[in-house]
Symmetry: C2
Subunit: 185 residues, 2 copies
């Protein structure tokens, strides 16, 4: 087994569920059964682990986007795939919120150097969604539509995390799909 990769995977998991600050080396070490001292052969510091976790999430996001490009022929269907993340991941969102939003907020509060890196995941979705809205014919307000969709999704995730109300989630996701379908070609 690749220990370095095991560390990244376990840290990714724990940073999402328990937060970066609240995750200790002891926590990570115990889940993959290595000693605390072993970390420093693979990473110089906790910050370097965070950096690797963010990079892994960025890479995963890129792969998701590539998959949507392959599976869906129309930009409308690709945007619909983005909206459906909320439904697909509803169990995790109810427990831990949106992985992108919660990490960006947390790193911002502790003034962490890696906050801009974490924010790049938002930027990736933003620019990709903008491109999709352009392909839909909305050249002028494509970025505004992308930001509208991103912020609305983010808000749904936060409120679903707080109230865990499935009918709320389904209703809001339905409204997003309706909003998307009323946008003219």
């Amino acid at each position: 087994m690749d220990t370095r990769q095991q560390i990244i995977d376990a840290a990714d998991h724990l940073f999402y569920r328990n937060g970066f600050t609240h995750t200790s080396f002891t926590d990570i070490a115990s889940t993959i059964d290595i000693s605390r001292g072993n970390f420093y052969h693979h990473f110089k510091s906790k910050n370097e682990i965070l950096s690797a976790v963010i990079q892994a999430r960025l890479d995963r996001t890129k792969q998701f986007i590539e998959q949507w490009e392959k599976e869906n022929l129309s930009p409308r269907k690709r945007i619909a795939s983005f909206i459906n993340i909320l439904t697909t991941n509803k169990t995790k969102i109810a427990q831990y919120g949106c992985p992108v939003g919660t990490l960006t907020i947390e790193l911002g509060k502790i003034n962490h150097d890696a906050q801009p890196h974490a924010k790049e995941i938002f930027s990736l979705f933003r620019s990709w969604l903008t491109e999709q809205f352009i392909q839909l014919g909305h050249h002028k307000d494509a970025d505004a539509l992308a930001m509208h969709l991103l912020s609305h999704s983010q808000g749904i995730a936060t409120m679903f995390n707080a109230f865990k109300d499935e009918s709320f989630l389904n209703r809001e996701v339905g409204e997003l799909h309706h909003w998307l379908n009323t946008l003219v070609d």
Copy 2:
């Protein structure tokens, strides 16, 4: 000076800006110039301080709502006052996000007992907004409209915190006001 109140005020300030986990007794003590040992005369633990901070925020929220009831004659204007929080507090939101959403998410991640208490601030806004939409004549979907507005505001706060894009904020706030004004009486 009331030391107990000073502790609550300083903790309120720091929990919002730096997060609950990342705020230490040393941080609070140094801002109001007391010793660390003095805390335990006023509070049994850090959790008791958190509890007092959340209660203070709940009380403040109730006062805000009472003020809106006094100042604004129509439910539509009262809801508009809620929307305008985003603009009024934009500087703090850009730096630290929404105080309600970020604390609720953080306490959820560390599995803190006080998370339901923090969530009550959301519930307070939710039930008050629901009442306003009922007064607007939307008896059937008042709670859905309240949740829609809450989640949308929450998403705007998160994305404004990430990108600090004022034109985005103004555009989304404008859309919320437009959405409110197109709701029939």
